[in-house]
């Protein structure tokens, strides 16, 4: 991550957005990137602050992506500053603990780029974005069931009268499916506990 003093930025966020509770996820390993976590309820104010502040502004939102850690889910906002002298990058994270109806505030009114990105995040993880202008699925069909990138996802059996993953076409001995079954089992036991 380039040109970002994480501790200073976290301090700035805490000073200007009350209750943001920004913490730096540092890595001792220089090979991996650090990131900043904030409270999910304050994400709109934090992104607004990052966009408008004078000291370390970010003028573009590159991506909104989800991560399923089984016990909780995370939304990563990857932000960038396009500037010829000091380009910046930042991964901003919020934690969502509710798996049944996860929701965070939408940032579309700040960055129109978030429109499609948040729709994709909803499509893949089922995370709802409050105040989103067009909260539909984007890549999967509108009547698809389940959220494919969740770790406990099992594809529906039948879609519009068509068999999904027909047995005679599947090779269940394939390494891919062994791994997937493990993941599903792990997620289901976690959910049961």
């Amino acid at each position: 991550m380039l040109n970002v003093d994480f501790n200073k930025l976290a301090e700035l966020i805490n000073q200007n957005v009350s209750g943001a509770n920004a913490t730096v996820n540092t890595t001792e390993d220089a090979k991996t990137d650090s990131s900043i976590s904030v409270e999910a309820s304050k994400i709109f104010s934090v992104v607004e602050f990052l966009k408008t502040n004078k000291e370390m502004p970010f003028n573009a939102l590159q991506a909104v992506s989800g991560v399923d850690y089984v016990e909780w889910m995370e939304v990563c906002y990857i932000m960038a500053h396009f500037d010829l002298t000091t380009p910046r990058e930042l991964i901003l994270k919020v934690k969502v603990t509710d798996r049944v109806s996860p929701a965070v505030d939408s940032v579309v009114s700040l960055y129109p780029a978030a429109n499609f990105q948040e729709r994709e995040c909803y499509d893949m993880f089922g995370i709802k974005f409050n105040n989103h202008p067009d909260p539909r699925r984007i890549l999967c069909p509108d009547d698809w069931e389940g959220f494919p990138l969740r770790k406990d996802y099992v594809a529906q059996k039948v879609y519009n009268g068509m068999e999904v993953f027909p047995d005679h076409k599947m090779n269940y001995d394939d390494r891919e499916f062994i791994v997937r079954q493990d993941m599903i089992k792990k997620a289901q036991t976690q959910a049961a506990n």
Partner: protein, 391 residues
């Protein structure tokens, strides 16, 4: 949904009131999923008011394969062929971005010759991709011949790639730690000859198409995207440069060995035709980029030195726990790879930030108020590849 496009008071019905009533309503048209101007399986739902577009709503997902889910079940080397299939017209650039993310976490040292070959194949693929963009854009605007010229040059590049990687489109050539195969001196000489031919060809294309009066009339001052819009929508690559921002990751945040190379960043302006941010300038940025790529390739051949092309990488790759975000300048914009590892043999999460996906999201903003024919010109100048949009 109400139209934002105001054409004033409708005329009073005279002969057949029902028909006149119909004329005042918006007409819904489907452009795609199979339409020559959408360059793939994109469906644009267009609400038109006679010839003028009131809304354009992109419907995506016709080529959705969920490669991000596939990647979670494959080892790190096994993901590379899947990454190929994102932007199948610039597969080398896609591979390099993903491999760079893995190598950054792994801390692999890549041999110098391999780094140079990576730049060579990435720039060659950039030329091939821009030739495709040039040819299909001319077809969109009604000129068929340039397509054949462009494919002639593209074919030469694909022949070379076929010799070194065994495939014409989806290469699986850049591997973790280096590249799969070495280039012979004879092949490098052919690349040098190709550079000379390409420069002459570009001059020909500019005379034939770029400076053609009809072409300029069709594209100049059409589909203008301001710099503010670019930042708001996160547009990158030729779109951002066409709007006048001198931003190129190869120069501004150099990766690989790009800091050693001397080249310019072409930007759009109102000097020759149109204004910054219109279709003509976006198109012209691509044509000038081909010249810059030729410049880089010549320097690569000069700097090329003998040596190994594969670094030391253990048989089973296990990345440390953590995450990394890497972005590279691909022909269509910045490709970002957000890779999260839990210390296992497979990626825990691989998010691909696709430039084309971002650029498609701009269409509902640019399209309203344009003629349908101008919308075709705009979609063509954005140059999308649906494999990358839908992933």
């Amino acid at each position: 949904m109400q139209s934002k496009w105001d054409i004033g008071e409708p005329e009073k019905p005279t002969i057949n009131s029902e028909t006149e009533q119909l004329k005042s309503d918006l007409l819904t048209l489907n452009m795609g999923p199979q339409h020559p101007a959408t360059h793939g399986v994109l469906r644009l739902e267009i609400w038109t008011d006679s010839e003028i577009v009131a809304h354009a709503i992109p419907h995506l997902g016709y080529l959705h394969r969920c490669m991000e889910k596939h990647a979670e079940n494959l080892d790190y080397r096994g993901v590379i062929p899947f990454v190929d299939r994102l932007d199948y017209l610039a597969a080398m650039n896609m591979e390099w971005t993903y491999v760079a993310a893995v190598e950054k976490m792994l801390g692999t040292e890549v041999p110098r010759r391999a780094e140079l070959i990576r730049i060579l194949v990435a720039e060659l693929n950039r030329i091939a991709s821009h030739m495709m963009a040039f040819g299909t854009y001319a077809i969109d605007l009604g000129a068929f011949t340039p397509f054949l010229y462009a494919f002639d040059e593209r074919e030469k590049i694909l022949r070379l790639f076929e010799e070194v990687s065994g495939a014409r489109l989806l290469y699986n050539y850049i591997w973790i730690g280096g590249v799969w195969n070495d280039w012979t001196d004879e092949q490098l000489e052919r690349v040098a000859n190709f550079c000379d031919v390409m420069e002459e060809e570009i001059k020909k294309y500019n005379e034939l198409v770029s400076m053609n009066k009809i072409f300029i009339e069709r594209t100049a001052n059409v589909g203008v995207v301001s710099i503010e819009d670019c930042f708001a929508y996160g547009a990158t690559g030729p779109i951002l440069r066409g709007s006048g921002m001198k931003w190129d990751l190869r120069k501004n945040m150099p990766y690989g060995l790009y800091s050693e190379f001397d080249f310019d960043i072409p930007v759009g302006s109102s000097e020759v035709a149109g204004q910054a941010g219109d279709c003509w300038n976006r198109y012209m940025v691509r044509m000038n980029e081909v010249n810059e790529s030729v410049k880089i390739i010549r320097q690569v051949i000069q700097k090329m030195e003998p040596g190994p092309v594969m670094g030391k990488v253990s048989k089973i790759i296990k990345l440390p726990k953590g995450e990394v975000y890497v972005r590279h300048e691909c022909p269509r914009g910045e490709l970002g790879v957000h890779l999260i590892s839990d210390g296992g043999k497979t990626p825990y999460r691989l998010k691909v930030k696709s430039p084309c996906f971002t650029h498609v999201s701009m269409l509902p903003h640019i399209a309203p108020g344009q003629m349908i024919a101008d919308l075709v010109a705009t979609v063509g100048s954005i140059d999308i590849v649906l494999g990358e949009v839908d992933r």
